[in-house]
Amino acid sequence: MLPRKALKKLNYKKNLPKSFFYFYFVIQSSLIMSTENYLNDISEIKQLMNKSSRFISLSGLSGILAGTYALIGAAVAYYLVITSSEGHVILNGSLYKLIILDMILILFFSIVTGFLLSSKKAKENGESMWNSTSKRLISSLLTPLLAGGLYILIILEQQIYGQTGALMLLFYGLALVNASKHTIGDIKYLGYMEIILGLLCALIPGFAFWLWVLGFGILHIIYGSVMYFKYERK
């Protein structure tokens, strides 16, 4: 509509070259305009697909802190064992209970930190903390984790010891792989690493403590830093 009007105005029979260029310009610019619109469309589609299916506000910093807690907890456990009169853990003694308490504290502080930092980040991203993606993330994370945790407690009750560290690493790894489809980042690879460490731990129980330190402490710190520098610092 616009070109024809414009052509009439320019009286194209008398003045062909000028109007021709004008016409060319209108077509060209409208093509560029629409291409730009389509590009916007595509990027908006991608963004919506990610935003609607993945929880993007998982904080990397909380990974670093969780790793730090694990290291502190491990150091405390190590210290307790070294300074105890027996020199090694006697199960169902008071030392054993202290170490279980130590682990529960690590878990508790990691969860609280993760929750607080992620909700802060969600606020910054304009994402609500409790939406369908975070619900899916939490349920897919918790299902293997709870099953594994209960299983470990049950076999401890039945006095089957020695595989606790391996089982913790294994179930945690499986939980991460399972949850990875609901968030961004490379959490899947962290999960695979934890699974490998869990299997190694089962293979060489003598190193269980150090593999646990590696899996829950150092890997968390590395993963958290990668996430932090890759996605959070701009």
Partner: protein
């Protein structure tokens, strides 16, 4: 050029409708509030766009009650998924051709 333009689907020719389909492609379903929150649309606006997509059978609507609250769930239909894919491919071709 005209070949590509044939696949540009008029039913998706709006930001909100494109958004609704994008969300339903990667989620099993979405309810009204989830769509509203993600797209930043008003109730009336969103309702008219979902109606339009429902009319051409690109999405499926299920109404139910959660407790006493009515809840509307939207699903992408098979046709809708196919048409949406074609639409995206056409968009990508248009961009590449430039």
């Amino acid at each position: 050029m005209t070949n590509i333009l044939l696949h540009i689907n008029k039913a998706f020719d709006h930001r909100i409708r494109l958004g609704i389909m994008s969300i339903l492609m990667v989620n099993e379903y979405a309810d009204f509030n989830m769509l509203k929150e993600l797209l930043g649309a008003t109730d009336g606006n969103l309702a008219s766009h979902t109606k339009a997509l429902e009319k051409v059978a690109f999405i499926r609507v299920e109404k139910q009650f959660i407790g006493r609250k009515p809840n509307t769930r939207y699903y992408a239909s098979d046709i809708g998924k196919i048409e949406f894919k074609k639409h995206i491919e056409a968009l990508e071709k248009l961009i590449k051709n430039k």
